[in-house]
Subunit: 206 residues, 2 copies
Amino acid sequence: MRKGEETRTRILDAAEVAVLAKGFGATSIDELIVEIGITKSGFFYHFRDKNELAKALLERYIENDEKIYDEIFGRGRELADDPLQAFLLGLKLLSELLADLPNGHPGCLVATMCTQERAFDREIRELNRQAALMWRRRFGAMFRDIMQAYRPREPLDADQLADMVSTVLEGGIVLSKALKEPKSLPDQLLVFRSFVRLLFQPAAPA
Amino acid sequence: MRKGEETRTRILDAAEVAVLAKGFGATSIDELIVEIGITKSGFFYHFRDKNELAKALLERYIENDEKIYDEIFGRGRELADDPLQAFLLGLKLLSELLADLPNGHPGCLVATMCTQERAFDREIRELNRQAALMWRRRFGAMFRDIMQAYRPREPLDADQLADMVSTVLEGGIVLSKALKEPKSLPDQLLVFRSFVRLLFQPAAPA
DNA sequence: TGCGCTCCTGTACCGCCAGTACAGTTTTCA
DNA sequence: TGAAAACTGTACTGGCGGTACAGGAGCGCA
């Protein structure tokens, strides 16, 4: 049990790196087993097929993602009582975390599975959808809290603002990779942060 | 010559649909040639290998993308003299165009190649980078024009604002696909439009 | 001590796929 | 009508996903 879990984790680790770098279709099982030093039979002992691997990969990724957001925006709430300040602080912390990744963001598995959606079954596409909905719920709740205390200068929907967080993150990752400029992602997040601050800023004093 | 171009186009058309749906690695040449009714030899007459296909695909995609932006933001400038109004109008027109796609946005090839970057050679990654830089130049020029006439309420960089257009488009496509909500993409673009309007809105009257 | 379970290895095989090689054939257009 | 363009046909290679099993090493427990 102990040993089996460890091997499984090593497969997932190697697969995640490869899938984020080359895409799922271009990631071969043969290459993974060579890398981690097991046989093909060993691989299929842990995963029925490649689709099972994709599912396990995505589940683990989403779980970890949620944990990171919990920590970062939890810290934001610890350091600031005001919901707007807490959120802005969270965005700042997230931007710093992304800026500190030495080789830039490795990529988002949710995005990877979206850009190759027909390569996966219904179950995986549903997992992907649930992840995006969780992001919406998380940030939507924050924006609703903020709106209790601040009146937005434009009548924007809390869920659409929440989606904007995911949009900027996913889009920033793509742009960063296309440009080969790791700094673009944290920068874009800070631009979005400025927008949020502007949106809830009280009208200029008379 | 005429005929050859037509076949080549048919290959590219079929390949683009398949690559956007399943990713490049999961798109097989065998499947493409069956779909368009040629032989494998016929395919390799037009493209030396799969990488040549990818390059041609990306080149055509970027060219077409530029043409669409030229048209839409050109129309914006025709209908409004003011650079801010012209840009806001362009975003509106773009949002409407995206909202009218019956099955949602098919996906962006630049994003596809980013999320599978290691599957492609240096030349293709450079093409991708140039595309992102072209977007930056295009929208950066528009923001600089706007800044000649309007003072932003936050000191934001024109190039970073320009990148935000690409970010929102790429991120919106990913989110739309993940959520299976085609409307998310045009909606996100309109949220961004509100932000831009807010940014250049004169300070609230005293 | 040995039984059974987990966690693999080894071997052999199938059909799909990218790519090569090249000879031959049809189509197109000047 | 003839040369070039645009293919087809055939045969092959090696990698890959996946299947099918048979067997074995190490470990916990009665």
